[in-house]
């Protein structure tokens, strides 16, 4: 049992570290003195930085070499992330594309699609967004209603609405899950598409949240024309293609929790700074409970890494770590606000944004309830709930739903 790198890992880490030493002066400054302020400038600088990281082999670490990656494993990806954090430089701009959508195209896309899209994605020349969730399809993702209809010439017409779309406002392309056949059961009539975000009929609107900021977008599609070769992974295979994306999402979330800054050290620092709070038994008890669980998540991450190192794929139980992180951070924000009082909630306080962000995060990447269902069924082997939608064509299901409402 040890927390050390193997000799090979140490060599890889040293290589990444020396590249960063050499190039970190070229990284955009996003915080502190001299930080960029103009949104467009920030974006351009982060794209360029992603390109440099890609050239240096620090982006797409797990991608196959033939698509510009390093052909290495998830452990090296984690080591690379750690070194980027240590160097205090920004990570890649398009984590969703490179981390989740690119791997989906690598797994299911045509050779033409791989050649056309992957290089530009990896280098930050074309940013991507994930167009899966809809206002009425989140936990029940297979209920998407965005429709794609095929024309006689094989091209497609797309209409509908997506939501919770990160980066849509500057993305070049989106990977979109649409219904192409409503007369079969819902998981079967789905198809995955590549959608150019500048196509006619695409409207993007920022979605403001509790903090007042817009981290996400709503995207509307009004009779958008798509070429026949926009299909990824075959017509009617959208569900299977999408599951690949979700698997990569799970790995990304499971290994990235502490990166969000929701960790015991930071929260304890806030309590330690208050002379009275740090001696108050009730505050200490709450801090101790919250911190213990967040510490556990750090070591759950190391257990996940050990499994990856042995060639095992992390299971859905990684979702439990997400539940712990989010609920722990919510309790920590609450405790800190109790200690520091109303000024905690000032717009520019260290904590106000976190406190506003967390209630939504509870539902992101799978609601807590859905995660508990999945884990209960896949890990504990408990029986699923009876489903009323099994084997029923989607069109009939919709009319039943309408009748019931």
């Amino acid at each position: 049992m040890d927390l050390d790198d193997t000799p090979e890992q140490a060599a890889y880490r040293a290589q990444v570290r020396s590249w960063l030493e050499e190039h970190k002066a070229e990284a955009p400054v996003l915080q502190g003195p001299g930080a960029l302020e103009d949104e467009a400038e920030i974006l351009a600088a982060r794209r360029a930085w992603q390109g440099k990281l890609a050239e240096g082999g620090l982006a797409g670490v797990t991608w196959p070499k033939e698509y510009g990656g390093q052909g290495l494993g998830p452990i090296e990806q984690v080591l690379c992330n750690q070194e980027i954090a240590r160097a205090k430089v920004p990570s890649i701009l398009d984590a969703i594309g490179v981390g989740m959508l690119g791997p989906t195209i690598i797994a299911h896309g045509s050779e033409e699609q791989k050649t056309r899209y992957l290089g530009a994605m990896l280098h930050g020349d074309e940013v991507w967004c994930q167009l899966f969730s809809e206002p009425a399809a989140g936990s029940d993702l297979a209920a998407v209603q965005t429709r794609a209809r095929q024309e006689d010439d094989g091209s497609w017409r797309l209409s509908g609405q997506k939501v919770w779309t990160t980066n849509a406002q500057f993305a070049s392309y989106g990977l979109l899950l649409a219904r192409t056949d409503a007369d079969v059961p819902k998981h079967k009539g789905l198809t995955m598409f590549v959608v150019p975000m500048d196509a006619e009929g695409v409207t993007i609107r920022g979605l403001r949240q509790i903090s007042g900021e817009a981290e996400f977008n709503e995207v509307f599609f009004d009779d958008v024309a798509l070429d026949a070769d926009a299909v990824v992974g075959g017509v009617g295979n959208g569900w299977g293609t999408g599951l690949t994306t979700l698997m990569f999402e799970r790995v990304t979330i499971g290994l990235g929790g502490e990166g969000m800054g929701y960790n015991s050290t930071r929260f304890a620092g806030a309590i330690a700074a208050d002379e009275h709070a740090r001696r108050d038994p009730e505050v200490r008890h709450q801090l101790g409970e919250i911190a213990s669980e967040l510490l556990a998540v750090r070591f759950t991450g190391y257990r996940t890494l050990t499994a990856l190192q042995k060639g095992q794929i992390p299971g859905p139980e990684a979702g439990l770590a997400k539940v712990t992180i989010v609920s722990g951070a919510i309790k920590a924000g609450d405790l800190i606000a109790d200690v520091l009082g109303p000024d905690t909630l000032l717009e520019d306080s260290e904590w106000s944004y976190m406190i506003s962000f967390l209630p939504g995060l509870k539902s992101a990447g799978g609601t807590e309830e859905i995660l508990r269902n999945t884990i209960g069924e896949r890990v504990l082997g408990l029986p699923p709930e009876p489903r009323l939608d099994k084997g029923i064509p989607f069109s009939e299901l919709r009319s039943k739903e309408k009748a019931a409402a």
Binding site: A296, K310, P383
Partner: protein, 380 residues
């Protein structure tokens, strides 16, 4: 990076499970609650035979020279079947002796299990207090550690009271910490010596051997154990009871999940209802968090000793809550039958309620986590 069991550790765990499966520990626990204490199986011979008694004693002194994490694996297996085996008291005592040059002569018989030791739990100072203190018989005020008075070269007499000392009634040797001229030293005291009185007790959980220890100018050997190792024994005890608790959580969860699959209401298995499913995944969540912290504590004791107080306290804190959650969920999932005398759930519930109050209790461990992190924050 390697936070997985080695082949030897998997074997150790499987061997422990196999050895303990030969005893009717749960039946014994229930009968003992009914007054038949003879029904509790004597597991010490098994511990001797398996070499668990010498796990934390170095090979040169006749032990197996294993690590804390190995001991935690064995305690986890004991926890699974609520086995009262005497290791919770014995192992931290042997760790203190193993780190003393003067302790060596006593170690061979403790390693082989010919003699038994019990650790006199003394909590080390924290960020709010410089005192070494002990669990009170009742209430929140914590008395100071026993006081030692030098009586000769390497000898002292020790006076003080220690409440609820695990495995004290069966111990031949009591090993702990006393204050000599205000400074903590390790002491080893023969249970049979003049001035030593051990009042055997049970509280609520018949499987747990406890004793109030009273020392009145009891003759002691003073040990030259480093002060870090004296503090380390307290954290080792925290890690061991955490491991034992999580073993009990495993069984409570397994039994509850099995029942949730076979018990039907309104035409379907109760485990298919979200309310039941989510409460069981909550037990799993706490169990997994606890397991991760056991790895942290197991690694830290030798790999990062300055983090051991934090790691062991966090493991104890999470494991204590997990055991309470698991025991209560076990009762709830079983419905009314889960609250009956004949069922095993009440035995796990009894274990949970007592365990969480021993060795400083989970509340003190939780407070220690906060204290350790506050000290870290000050240093940063």
């Amino acid at each position: 990076m390697n936070l997985a069991l080695s082949d030897e550790q998997v074997f150790l765990r499987e061997a422990a499970r196999g050895a303990l499966s030969r005893f009717k520990t749960l039946e014994g626990a229930r009968e003992a609650l009914d007054g038949n204490s003879g029904a509790l199986p004597d597991l010490w011979p098994t511990a001797k035979e398996a070499g668990w008694t010498g796990m934390l004693i170095s090979e040169e002194h006749g032990g197996a020279g294993l690590d804390a994490f190995d001991a935690m694996l064995v305690l986890g297996e004991c926890g699974r079947v609520l086995a009262g085996i005497g290791l919770l008291g014995h192992l931290p005592a042997t760790a203190i002796l193993n780190d003393a040059s003067g302790g060596a002569p006593m170690l061979a018989e403790l390693a082989s299990g010919e003699r038994r030791a019990a650790y006199l739990p003394v909590s080390p100072p924290d960020d709010l207090s410089d005192s070494w203190n002990v669990d009170p018989a009742s209430g929140l005020a914590r008395p100071l550690a026993p006081i030692a008075t030098a009586s000769g070269e390497g000898q002292a007499t020790v006076s003080g009271e220690l409440a609820f000392v695990p495995d004290a009634p069966e111990a031949d040797l009591l090993v702990g910490v006393a204050l000599l001229d205000g400074k903590p030293v390790g002491v080893a005291i023969e249970s049979g010596a003049a001035g030593v009185a051990v009042e055997a007790l049970t509280r609520y959980d018949s499987t747990r051997s406890l004793g109030h220890v009273s020392l009145k100018e009891a003759p002691a050997t003073v040990l030259d154990t480093p002060v870090e190792a004296l503090a380390g024994a307290w954290y080792l005890a925290q890690a061991l009871i955490a491991a034992e608790s999580l073993g009990s959580v495993e069984t409570a969860l397994d039994v509850s999940v099995a029942y949730a699959k076979e018990r039907f209401t309104f035409g379907r298995a109760i485990g298919s209802y979200q309310a039941v499913k989510h409460s069981l995944t909550e037990v799993l969540r706490q169990l997994e968090n606890g397991r991760s912290l056991l790895y942290y504590a197991g690694w830290a004791r030798s790999g990062g000793p300055h983090e051991f107080p934090l790691a062991a306290s966090a493991a104890r804190s999470v494991a204590g809550r997990a055991l309470d959650t698991a025991a209560r969920t076990m009762i709830s999932v079983h419905g009314g039958i889960g609250a009956t005398w004949e069922h095993d759930a009440p035995l796990y519930f009894r274990r949970a309620q007592l365990s969480r109050r021993l060795l400083g209790g989970t509340a003190k461990a939780t407070d220690r986590v906060a204290g350790e992190l506050i000290v870290q924050a000050d240093a940063a």
